[in-house]
Amino acid sequence: MSLNQKSLKMLGCFFLALTIITPGLSTAQDGNKLLKQVDENLLPPSFEAYRKIINEEPDGSKKEYIFYTVKKDRDKVAMLYLSPASEKGRATLRLGDNMWLFIPNVGKPIRITSMQSVVGGVFNNADIMRLDYSVEYDATILETSAAETILDLQAKTKTVAYDKLKMWVDNKRTTVTRVECFAASGTLIKTLEFKQIKDFGKGVVRPAVIETTSPLYQGFRSIMIYSRVTLRKFPDEVFTLDYLSRLGELR
């Protein structure tokens, strides 16, 4: 075999390897790019909003909570309970993987875990104080069609509430329509359905309703409803332990 033939063969192998690897890389790049667009369309970078959570029990009875929420950047969320009276004044703060709960009677914030549920029902703390998906997950495209794309999301760290997510994205609006949350074992923990696209003004168009069910809580259903999502800038100090007892002043 001449030197030229050898070189040609090596070049051929290189291009073959490149054609095998490149689609994988581009799927991951496309997936993460799409996930960032989903995040941007879901919530603006800095805003305030009111949310209601309805926990429906198997017997049909309901428990309701109303929160005032503020968010800044991709990983700062603070939340104040407005009703019912038994919970009023409680506040929670999330900074990345850190979460705290402030109870007025106790008078100091205590660290809590993201898997706990402060309000009960199917939503846990990580669901209620969710960060941008792209902060916590790496995405790859599983399937794509004219109407929708299915993303596979893998947690970046072990401190994330769910190890894996499967996300359905509406291609026309680049909006999430459904998310399935899985444990490391592959067990389906819960399903979130994003419904009722609503124009909140100033370019904020997003699903107003998130319904959650879980095979672990048969017959239970939790619904989160967004209202008055307003663009607003906050100083960083709003997202600190010292400020938790003062959140109500922002309203």
């Binding site: 109303i66 038994s86 106790v106 960083d236």
Partner: protein, 434 residues
């Protein structure tokens, strides 16, 4: 022609019916997903609070000298006693722009007699900026990361480890807080709290020695996802204290925390040669704890606490022997004197040196709606006595709660929990929030 009219009429009816149905469904959808946001009222005092109606059944510990002294004036002693009381918390809050006012009061009704309020908190505050606040009055502070115990809680009200979430009275003080964030840098947040504590008015019930003013300060950092505090208390008539604490989430379901405190001139009343003496101690107290959430939605809180100022077993037995000896004299004056000394000996809720606190709690066990169950133990590692307290909660309606709360004390006659004035206690709480 008539047939055409009939068809047109029927089509119109169907169209109207469809429109109406759409209208109804749209209306019902709007009803489903609309809600009223509680408005923030300007310039109004907002009241809130709760009423706890409590009924308790208590089994007396006849062998305990503490029981003997407490009930020495009771003619007939019963094995079982019951108690009915109403605990009423009434809070008021006013805020207008930078100025705030807080009032928290507590009333306890046990029998028909004048009901003076306890002022838990009464303070005014100024929000100078997003970064700084100042205030003056009676305010509750809560330092430390521990759930049941806080060795660095220098400015805290004395916490009851049997009910750490209870509202408590604050301290008369003036304070200033400065709070600064640094974005996404390793040091994310820093805050400084400085407090000047007024001494209790003991001179003619109106004045206090100016030298007894205490100063406390706490520096907080959020550094690489770890909460870290350094704190100190400086006063003439109180032990000088230095401390630190930390807390961090190791996993999405595991949190750890710890506290360490060094104190100089910490006093403890003990008995030597059958008389009460004050012993001064220097040294460190510490706490390590964790909070873990299992896959079965059960939360575990576990804490180990070493209390440097706590009593040794011999010192505790010495106090019990002293109290017992007073009872045996059957001399009214000696008994009264010993009874009056009880608050001196037992002023701390964490009397002895080493404790283990473990609590397990689970919401809605066995899919029982609106219920919660928990059980906790406080184990005295010095004398191997302990209390065990299961709790069953039920929230039948929004803003209401029922609690069934038994507490059982175990230990020998000369141990902390074995010598409590009651052997067992069962309480039923009915709670109403507004």
């Amino acid at each position: 022609m008539r047939r055409w009219h009939d068809e047109a009429l029927s089509r119109t009816v169907i169209a109207l019916g469809l429109l109406l149905a759409c209208g109804i469904s749209a209306t019902s959808f709007a009803q489903d997903y609309d809600f009223d946001i509680p408005e923030e009222e300007e310039k109004r005092i907002e009241f809130s609070g709760n009423l706890d109606a409590k009924w308790g059944l208590l089994r007396a510990n006849m062998d305990s000298p503490i029981y003997g002294l407490q009930f020495s004036q009771t003619p007939a002693k019963d094995d079982y006693l019951s108690q009915y009381r109403l605990d009423f918390y009434l809070n008021g809050e006013y805020r207008h722009q930078q100025v705030g006012f807080t009032l928290k009061t507590f009333y306890q009704y046990v029998k028909e007699e004048p009901l003076p309020p306890s002022i838990f908190e009464l303070h005014g505050s100024l929000n100078l900026s997003h970064r700084s606040t100042a205030g003056i009055g009676k305010r509750r502070f809560n330092w430390g990361k521990g759930y049941a115990f806080n060795p660095v809680g220098y400015v805290n009200a004395q916490k009851d480890p049997e009910n750490p979430d209870l509202a408590l009275a604050g301290k008369t003080s003036a304070y200033f807080n400065y709070n600064r964030s640094f974005g996404d840098k390793p040091l994310q947040n820093l805050s400084l709290s400085s407090i000047v504590l007024a001494p209790e008015a003991e001179v003619n019930n109106k004045f206090a020695a100016a030298d007894d003013i205490a100063v406390a300060a706490k520096l907080y950092f959020l550094y690489r996802n770890i909460d870290i505090d350094f704190m100190t208390l400086q006063a003439n008539n109180l032990p000088t204290r230095y401390g630190l604490d930390f807390a961090a989430n190791l996993l999405s379901n595991l949190e750890i925390h710890g506290e360490f405190s060094y104190a100089r001139r910490e006093d403890q009343v003990i008995v030597e040669n059958n008389s009460a003496v004050v012993k001064m101690r220097n040294g460190g107290s510490y706490l390590f704890g964790l909070r873990y959430l299992s896959a079965l939605n059960t939360t575990l809180i576990a804490e180990y606490y070493h209390n440097n100022a706590g009593l040794t077993q011999n010192e505790f037995v010495g106090i019990l022997d002293h109290l017992d000896g007073s009872l045996l004299t059957e001399d009214a004056a000696a008994i009264a004197s010993a009874r009056n000394s009880l608050p001196t000996f037992f002023q701390s809720r964490n009397l002895m040196r080493d404790y283990l606190y473990v609590k397990l709690s689970r919401p809605e066990p066995f899919s029982w709606l609106y219920t919660s169950v928990s059980v906790f133990t406080i184990y005295n590692l010095v004398d191997n006595s302990f209390l065990l307290s299961p709790q069953f909660g039920y929230k039948p309606f929004t803003n209401s709660e029922i609690l069934l709360w038994p507490t059982l004390f175990f230990g020998g006659d000369d141990t902390e929990y074995g010598a409590k004035q009651f052997q067992h206690r069962v309480e039923v709480w009915l709670r109403f929030f507004f």
